[in-house]
């Protein structure tokens, strides 16, 4: 017998009575507030930032102000130039030189301050989202889901994307003597730009 069949057979022989353990209905709990305010609070708690426009700002001027030293700014959106387009990046090795990546997220989660990215937003170069030093995420207030329950129920992406990441602030670690460090191995910062 293959290990597969072996394992399944042992499980069948050993399992507790299925009738005694019915599946509860899908949970729909918690705060249903999907406001921008809630999202921003949650995002900031996890170390994310809001890229706030100043008088007369465009995304480009805001990025230039926020990242004055950035040399390679990669755009994954049609409405922003950058210094290079994601379609022109051939490999992760090339993507690793990126200072700032600009992407558009299809939705955010108010409870967590999370934004979602998949291959659809990254031109299938998924590593680009993690190799860049900084990431700027364009997000619309209209696309906020209240919490994790509503998100999994509402968003079709979880059933279609091969790679779907919820990013909640920048990468972080507290593995050295408990000191929280933002900017571990993935992005050093994550900023949200409201559109």
């Amino acid at each position: 017998m293959s290990s597969r069949d072996n394992i399944l057979a042992t499980l069948r022989a050993n399992r507790p009575d299925p009738a005694a353990h019915p599946l509860p209905p899908v949970a729909m709990l918690g705060d249903m507030d999907n406001s921008r305010q809630r999202f921003e609070n949650a995002l900031q708690l996890l170390g994310g930032q809001i890229l706030l426009p100043e008088e007369g700002d465009t995304l480009a001027t805001a990025i230039a102000r926020r990242f004055p030293d950035a040399k390679i700014i990669c755009s994954a959106v049609p409405d922003f130039e950058g210094t290079i387009r994601i379609e022109d990046i051939e490999s992760p090795q090339q993507a690793a030189a990126t200072d700032v990546l600009v992407v558009r997220s299809p939705f955010g989660i108010a409870e967590m301050g999370s934004i979602f990215l998949s291959e659809a937003q990254l031109n299938s170069l998924n590593s680009a989202a993690h190799l860049t030093q900084h990431i700027v995420v364009i997000l619309s207030e209209d696309n906020l889901s209240a919490n994790m329950h509503t998100t999994y129920l509402e968003r079709p992406e979880f059933h279609t994307a091969n790679y779907g990441v919820l990013m909640s602030g920048p990468s972080a670690t507290a593995d050295i003597q408990g000191v929280l460090i933002r900017g571990a191995q993935g992005v050093r910062s994550l900023s949200v730009w409201w559109e």
Partner: protein, 464 residues
């Protein structure tokens, strides 16, 4: 050769001798517990979430074969190669074969307790594969040649100078660097080139979703996503108990996991892998390694509900004061003490006794595993299977007999010589001796309650 039981008490005693490490360890983990409490207080539905999580897991475990088949079918449909491993040996062999097919000599990986269970690095290394842990804590442990001491924060028992020493040796950094920031940066700088040139990537995973064939990885450092997306070959290893039926069930678990673990609402990265990336290949290995047998243990099968959040370890007053390494096992703390004996009953026979059974672990567990009750039940099982030290067993036997005979008991209490039928006195005293090592004995009293009662109540009754 007979396996020797882990001497937790002795290892713990050594751990306790180092005051700076002990104090930090206890306070850091207690702080994580406090942060978990704060998150709990923010969610009025917390207990409801725990109940749901427990019910979903119990249901899934009772229907595991069907859900595994469903998962497999969906994953295959999405282009994932699905493998089954009955034990660690088979798991490691599968990994080696996949790597060989691709001529892969370097493997970067994120944290996975299952690969620790399988002792995978030790298997691959001599076969010419260089395995690099990319999680900071796990990497520190790899470089120091130690098991992770905690399932969420693997190097929590170390202080900055320890890390500085290890990094100086391996990364040529300043051995006196006392800044966690610059040490973390050193890890980033050392890991990047390895990640960018690695032949294959490996991750663990937190959940399998039967409905979609998805697996979910929850991490903070970004290293798991890098390991999974930079190389074109991604191998994921997960225990078969990691399943949930529906995508929507993840809502319950994601809301509980990081809050219970670290006291943060969610991990920085919650990644859903449903199929290979463009141009890439994806493998998933479903590992049994004792789980299917455990499912048949009436008193212990619910330990399979565990989502590896580590909350039981953070709250455990014994764990905090003995350190994860003192358990001498891949899994330490309360959850370790109830699952380790399923891997090796003799070797881990001491672990269910490394607890006061105070029950705090059960209360924090997000999937409501009755951990402290299972500790109690394990003690019984181990005694029945003759896995208790001889002296302890004899003392309990003797005490049990004595307690059944009030006259004999009274004579013993009153200090008169009693024939201790099974054990000489010095054995008993030797066994009890440790009491006085760090503690005073109770003060002697003039009169027992028994004799006071006789004098003050029984005599009075008669006089009336």
């Amino acid at each position: 050769m007979k396996v020797k039981p882990v001497n937790h008490a002795k290892a713990a005693e050594e751990f306790l001798e180092d005051a700076p490490h002990l104090t930090f360890h206890d306070e850091r983990l207690w702080d994580m517990r406090q942060k978990r409490d704060q998150q709990m207080h923010l969610l009025p539905e917390w207990q409801d979430l725990r109940t749901r999580a427990s019910e979903i897991k119990e249901h899934t475990l009772a229907n595991l074969p069907e859900y595994l088949e469903q998962f497999e079918a969906n994953a295959k449909k999405n282009g994932i190669h699905v493998h089954w491993a009955k034990d660690g040996e088979e798991h490691n062999r599968i990994v080696a074969e996949i790597l060989e097919q691709h001529g892969a000599k370097t493997l970067i990986k994120s944290k996975s307790m299952v690969t620790e269970e399988c002792d995978m690095r030790a298997y691959l290394q001599p076969r010419g594969v260089t395995v690099t842990e990319t999680d900071l804590g796990e990497r520190i442990q790899q470089l120091d040649d130690q098991l992770p001491s905690h399932i969420v924060v693997p190097a929590v028992h170390k202080l900055v100078p320890d890390v500085a020493r290890i990094f100086a040796k391996n990364y040529n950094t300043d051995p006196n660097d006392n800044s966690p920031q610059s040490l973390a940066e050193a890890q980033r700088m050392a890991a990047r080139p390895v990640i960018l040139t690695s032949d294959a990537g490996m991750t663990g995973g937190n959940f399998l979703v039967a409905e979609t064939g998805t697996f979910v990885v929850c991490t903070n450092e970004g290293n798991a996503d890098l390991s999974a997306t930079v190389p074109n070959l991604h191998i994921a290893t997960l225990g078969i108990e990691r399943l949930v039926p529906r995508m929507a069930d993840l809502g319950v678990f994601v809301r509980l996991l990081s809050r219970s673990a670290l006291g943060s609402p969610i991990t920085q990265y919650t990644t859903h892998f449903r199929g290979p990336q463009k141009g890439g290949e994806m493998h998933i290995i479903l590992v049994d390694n004792g789980r299917s047998t455990r499912l048949g243990m009436e008193e212990f099968w619910t330990s399979l509900k565990c989502i590896r959040c580590g909350a039981c370890m953070n709250t455990c007053p014994v764990y905090r004061r003995s350190g994860g390494l003192s358990y001498g096992a891949v899994y330490s703390g309360p959850i370790g003490a109830i699952i380790d004996p399923t891997f090796n009953e003799r070797k881990y026979s001491t672990l269910p006794f490394a607890s006061t059974m105070n029950g705090s672990c059960t209360n924090v567990c997000p999937v409501k595993i009755n951990i402290h009750e299972q500790l109690y039940k394990w003690r019984r099982v181990l005694a029945e299977h003759h896995e208790l030290p001889f002296v302890k067993r004899e003392i309990m036997h003797m005490a049990g007999k004595l307690m059944g005979q009030p006259k004999l008991y009274r004579t013993a209490i009153n200090g008169t010589e009693v024939a201790l039928s099974t054990l000489p006195r010095f054995v008993l005293y030797n066994w009890l001796n440790p009491w006085g090592k760090h503690r005073e004995l109770p003060h002697p009293v003039k009169q027992t309650f028994h004799s006071w009662y006789k004098q003050n109540r029984l005599k009075k009754d008669k006089a009336q």
